[in-house]
Symmetry: C2
Subunit: 199 residues, 2 copies
C-alpha cells in the first residue's frame, strides 16, 4: 500500500529541502495536513512569491524586490566602502550588527576547484566594473568565510583590486567573544596570535 498521491507528492517536495530525509518529510507532510487551512494557503503563496517577486540587485547582487535594492538606493549610506560577502543572507547578519553603514557586494559563492567553480562563475566582473565607475569607493572589505575556498577567493580579489589603488581589507579572525581558549582550534588560535593588538 502506498501513500495517497497528494501526501506522496508533498513528501517528495519536502525531501528536496536540505537536511530533510524521508522520515522528516513524512512527519512534515502529516503535520501539514493537520495545519490551519489559512496557514497552508499562505505557505503555498509565499513559496511562489519568493520565487517570482525576488530578483538580484543589478548593482550589488543582493536579493531584492526593487532594483536597485534598498541599500544601493540609499544615498545616505557611506559610498566609500564596499563589503564583499559570499551570500545575500550574509548582508542581513552584517546589518544586524548596526555598525557598518557602507555598501555591499554579493559574490553568490566562492571559488571552488572541487565543484568546478572559478572566478567567472562568481559575481566578480560586476564588482570590478563598479569599482571602475565609482571613484568614490576607497576601500573593499572582504568578508568571505574563513574556509580554504573563502580564503582563496579573498586572496584572488585582493590581487585583482589592489593594483587599482583601492584599499583591500579582510575581516579579523580570532577568538569568538565569550569563548574559552581551552576549546579553540589551532587555526583560530594561530590567527588570534598573529593578529594580536596592542593594549
Amino acid at each position: 500500500m502506498q501513500y495517497p498521491e497528494p501526501i506522496a507528492q508533498l513528501i517528495d517536495s519536502y525531501m528536496k529541502l536540505p537536511g530533510i530525509g524521508q522520515k522528516s518529510a513524512t512527519r512534515l507532510a502529516f503535520f501539514t495536513i493537520d495545519m490551519q487551512e489559512d496557514d497552508v494557503t499562505a505557505f503555498s503563496k509565499a513559496l511562489v512569491a519568493a520565487k517570482k517577486d525576488l530578483h538580484f540587485c543589478s548593482i550589488c547582487g543582493n536579493i531584492t524586490e526593487t532594483d536597485p535594492c534598498v541599500i544601493c538606493a540609499d544615498k545616505t549610506r557611506d559610498q566609500s566602502h564596499v563589503l564583499v560577502v559570499e551570500q545575500a543572507k550574509d548582508i542581513m547578519v552584517m546589518e544586524k550588527m548596526k555598525e557598518y553603514h557602507g555598501l555591499y557586494h554579493v559574490l553568490h559563492g566562492v571559488m571552488s576547484p572541487i565543484e568546478g567553480k572559478g572566478p567567472e562563475d562568481l559575481n566578480i566582473s560586476s564588482l570590478i566594473n563598479r569599482l571602475q565607475q565609482n571613484p568614490t569607493i576607497k576601500e573593499v572589505i572582504i568578508a568571505t568565510n574563513a574556509t580554504p575556498e573563502g580564503e582563496a577567493t579573498a586572496m584572488y580579489l585582493s590581487r585583482l583590486i589592489k593594483p587599482a589603488g583601492i584599499k583591500v581589507t579582510r575581516l579579523a579572525h580570532g577568538l569568538s567573544v565569550g569563548s574559552d581558549i581551552e576549546y579553540a582550534d589551532e587555526m583560530t588560535l594561530f590567527k588570534a596570535v598573529e593578529g594580536r593588538t596592542e593594549m
Copy 2:
C-alpha cells in the same frame, strides 16, 4: 534593515513547521529562492492539494482521497480484525510489515489529561458503532504507543469493548529485534520478562 517581504513571509511559514526555528527557516527560505522554479511550483501545489484533496475515511478515520479509503473498500481483506492506531501514519508502518491483512481504526490521538484530551475528543464513538454494526469483527488489536497516555487509552478501550464479547489484544512489548540487553531500559526489560514465551 529587514528581509524583503516575500522572504519574511516564507520564513514565517517555514517556522510554523515542527522543529524548525528562526535560523533553519531562514536557511530553508534562501534555499527555496535558489531552487528550480518547477520544484517550487510543485511544492506550492502539493501543499494546497494535501489540504484540499485529503479527507478522513468515514469508516476508519484514515487519511484518504476516496471515501471509504482503499483499505475499508477492499473486501478481500480480513473483515474479522480491527487494529486500532493513534495516527493515520501508523497504518503505513503496519502496511509496510505486509503481515497484517485486517482492517484499521484511527483514534487521531490518545487520552491525555495534561492536554485536556478525553475519550470524547478521540475517534472512539465511531469505533463502537462500527463494532456494533459489524458482527464479523471478532478481535480488536490495540496498537497505541507504549507511553503512559497510550497505555491508558488502551486500557480504556479494552474495558469498553470486552463486555460486548469481542476479543481485545494489545501489541507485544519487549526487546527490539537486534537490540542489546545491556542498553535496554528497565520498563522494556520488565515487559520482556513479563511477556516471555515458551521455546
